[in-house]
């Protein structure tokens, strides 16, 4: 019960002395949880993270991955992360900004990683996602393709696939698609 007579008194008081409290900047539970994830990041050697909006805006950040083995060795791939206020109830939204020839990443940057969609669980965190992305580069997989041309080549002819990846990463054509150089 809210005790209306108290409300009465309070309104009278409020009219008399207007001692408002400091304006509150709202921090959602999602932001707090994300802060925790970020403060505990333990990134692999291959990965760098940056916060384009400064140290107090962590909900949008960028991750770059430079695989040190496999088909994508020496390439540099940039990802954007968008985290919603209902994180970790919802998975972060991840896009690959670098155009890449990859069976599980389409040419628009959509990423097919199970933990970003159907297998996301609130106990997972940003670190898990980053490790998942690293894994995609060391273990591209033809069974769950987003880019099915690339997937078919990987399945039927790994040598050609390797050559295609190299060509794409050096800034060339694969089929009708042109790629920008991402080997530095």
């Amino acid at each position: 019960m809210i005790r209306l007579f108290k409300v009465k008194e309070k309104q009278r008081e409020a009219a008399e002395n207007n001692n408002g409290r400091a304006p509150v900047k709202k921090q959602s539970p999602g932001e707090l949880r994300l802060n925790k994830d970020i403060s505990e990041l333990n990134l692999p050697q291959t990965t760098k993270i940056s916060f384009p909006n400064g140290k107090d805006e962590l909900m949008n950040f960028e991750v770059s991955i430079r695989p040190d083995e496999g088909y994508y060795r020496s390439g540099k791939f940039e990802f954007t992360f968008q985290v919603s206020p209902t994180y970790p109830h919802e998975a972060p939204k991840v896009k690959c900004k670098t155009k890449v020839y990859h069976p599980n990443i389409d040419l628009e940057g959509n990423v097919c990683l199970n933990i970003l969609r159907e297998d996301w669980k609130p106990v997972l965190n940003i670190n898990t996602v980053i490790y998942g992305l690293n894994y995609l580069f060391t273990h591209p997989n033809h069974e769950d393709p987003l880019n099915h041309e690339a997937a078919a080549v990987l399945r039927d002819n790994p040598k050609t696939f390797e050559a295609n990846v190299r060509r794409a990463m050096s800034g060339g054509y694969v089929g009708n698609n042109t790629f920008s150089r991402c080997i530095y």
Partner: protein
């Protein structure tokens, strides 16, 4: 002013039966008498969040239950598809703000009630706006919005030095939700009953189809629609943001989804299904809304007057197979970051952030190693990653009091590692920080100098 004779008798006869007579199942502070109704009418201020299916019902129910000071907030405009259940709206209202039309219609119908509409997003209002109400009623369809209002309402809650919630700072909420034949109504009394965040697990995460299924092996009409929405849109309209409220965009998704469905021989793609899938619209049934809103309005009346004990604390209604309704008492998470008290720390204004981090490490209730510290969205110190550690390192030698903009008492959050039985786990804790001597100084100043 309304006719006093009419006001004083016949109209409120039924409400008066609840408010004039003592009873056994009433709240312990219930004081029956004629004053109660006039206080309810004069002083109780209720905010209705959402003017959709539930919001329309809530406004009507509150107005007819004796509440007179109502406000309603909603960012949407009326669409044709709302008219089947959002009964305050007419065809000629399409395109007008829901909050404004709903307020106007209920005021026309129920004399004496005053409803102030707010046509904006809930985040657009200052936090203090929400403190002005005695009860906040939620008629929302998103977890995000509920979580936001919950955090705002809980931010007013204060605890005394024994970690007991202070009653005057509690901002009660009644929350309704429906999905087809199912619904829930709950009472949230911050600090007493679980808040929305304590029980977030009650909400199942949204179904997200695997992207590769959408791209490769669609099996349902929804898969085709999501393909057009999530993959095809970006492919074709590179860089242009998709707007679910733009009919042209929706039409585009619909036609792309239709093409894809034809290609794979999948039936069932319609424009309304497209809207439903893309905007995640859940089928709404007018009567379920009415039942749930009625329960919420009654709880609000009980909260305001004490004429009966309130629902404790979560009612589910299921009309899917026969009818089943049940009340479950959920419990608070005592370490809830939103509604819990947090650990109280009294500090000197001179303590540096570095010393504070050491103190947190040794504090018997915390024992938190490698703490990162956040105050109202400002990261004062971050242990990782190195790029943030570097940016915040210079704060370590500064007084915490200054870093907190000389706020005499406030909440801060820390994350760090705790050791339990030789196992290290990470955790996130809420602290209530009070600086010693700060309030006293202010009082002496105002007492007249010397």
């Amino acid at each position: 002013m309304a006719n006093p004779d009419f006001e004083s008798n016949a109209r409120w006869r039924d409400l008066d039966k609840l408010l004039l007579r003592p009873g056994n199942l009433v709240n312990e502070n219930f004081e029956p008498g004629p004053q109660l109704r006039s206080d309810l009418q004069e002083y109780a201020r209720v905010l209705v969040v959402g003017a959709g299916g539930l919001g329309c019902e809530l406004l009507k129910d509150f107005a007819l239950s004796g509440f007179r000071n109502l406000e309603v907030i909603d960012m949407d405009r009326i669409e044709v598809t709302n008219l089947n259940r959002q009964f305050l709206f007419r065809l000629q209202d399409v395109g007008r703000p829901k909050a404004e039309v709903a307020a106007q219609r209920v005021m026309e119908r129920v004399s004496g009630v005053n409803i102030v509409p707010h046509f904006c997003r809930i985040e657009d209002k200052e936090v203090e706006f929400y403190n002005d109400f005695n009860i906040i009623a939620l008629g929302l369809d998103s977890i995000e919005a509920r979580s936001y209002i919950n955090a705002v309402a809980c931010s007013f809650l204060e605890y005394d030095s024994e970690d007991n919630p202070i009653q005057e700072t509690m901002k009660p909420m009644v929350d309704g939700g429906t999905e087809g034949f199912k619904g829930h109504a709950r009472v949230i009394m911050p600090g007493v009953t679980p808040c929305f965040e304590c029980t977030i697990w009650l909400f199942p995460p949204q179904v997200k189809f695997p992207l590769c299924t959408l791209a490769e092996t669609p099996r349902t009409a929804a898969h085709c629609i999501e393909y057009a929405h999530l993959i095809k849109w970006d492919e074709v309209n590179s860089g242009k943001a998709f707007d679910a409220d733009d009919p042209e965009h929706m039409q585009w998704i619909y036609s792309e989804a239709t093409k894809r469905a034809e290609l794979f021989g999948i039936p069932g793609v319609t424009y309304s299904l497209t809207q439903g899938v893309v905007k995640n619209i859940i089928p709404a049934i007018a009567s379920t809304n009415a039942i749930i809103s009625a329960a919420c309005a009654l709880e609000a009346l009980k909260l305001a007057t004490g004429c009966s004990k309130t629902l404790s604390n979560y009612l589910t209604y299921n009309g899917l197979e026969g009818l089943h309704t049940k009340v479950t008492e959920f419990f608070k998470d005592k370490d809830c970051l939103v509604c819990g008290p947090g650990v109280l720390l009294e500090l000197d204004t001179s303590i540096t952030l570095q010393k504070f981090i050491e103190l947190v490490e040794e504090h018997p209730k915390l024992l938190l190693a490698k703490a990162s510290v956040t105050h109202r969205g400002k990261n004062l110190y971050m242990q990782a990653p190195p790029v943030l550690e570097e940016m915040t390192r210079s704060n370590l030698n500064l007084p915490l009091y200054d870093l907190m903009d000389k706020t005499p008492k406030d909440v801060i959050h820390i994350t760090g590692m705790v050791s339990k039985n030789d196992k290290k786990t990470s955790c996130l804790r809420k602290l209530r920080v009070v600086f010693k001597g700060v309030d006293v100084v202010t009082e002496m100043d105002t007492a007249g100098g010397a």
